[in-house]
């Protein structure tokens, strides 16, 4: 099921070049990062017998959410700057 995150993450990654504004690029990057990290992690975990409730997995997922939040904030900030100009 988690393969969906990889499929959508890769589709969005291919669309980054088509983004017209920096704000859009940050927004797409946020989604690509979170989807690819979590998609790969949770798709591979059962294959390598990795416990998904273990601390390393929790740290990686938390990091991806924090990075996603930071990129979304950057997207909003750059959009606000463009609107102000």
């Amino acid at each position: 099921m988690f393969g969906a995150l990889i499929v959508v993450g890769l589709s969005f990654l291919l669309q980054i070049k088509q983004a017209t504004t920096v704000s859009q690029k940050y927004r797409i990057a946020a989604i690509v990062l979170a989807f690819l990290v979590n998609g790969v992690l949770f798709s591979v975990a059962p294959l390598i017998k990795l416990n998904t409730s273990s601390l390393p997995v929790v740290i990686i997922v938390s990091g991806s959410f924090i990075a996603m939040t930071a990129l979304m904030i950057l997207s909003q900030v750059t959009r606000a700057k463009i609107s102000a100009q």
Partner: protein, 145 residues
Amino acid sequence: MTIPVNLIHFYIGIPILSYLTLYGLVFSKNKHNTVTRYLSLGSGVFLLAALAYCIPVLFTQDARNLTYSTILGDALQFISLNYIWLLGGHLLLSQSKPAQKTLQICVFIITVLSIYVSIIQNLAEPTVLKVVDSTTLIVYAYTDL
């Protein structure tokens, strides 16, 4: 009140998931766009899943209640992934409607099966809180098809 360390990522994810859901469903100019709709529905349902995993553990340590909330969280998580598969189908198979329809049916069947397997596994192995080296951990059955 106990917060298991291995649920921290859900607490961290709740604000950004709320933002994605609200932005896509309420504030976005493109809210009728299919990509925006699937993405915000997917994040909205995953937000509900995160709440199902996170909230009950704040109020109860009863294994039966935690097992039911884990089953609910798993079901919502699979429904959320269902929306993400629909988005993937829309992005990759937009040229072929029959292929898109086939993918939707397959994903629906896998979602129902995943929920069924999650119920069986969680009832067989109830969710419990465990204290290891003064750190609280939640132990639950992991389901993925």
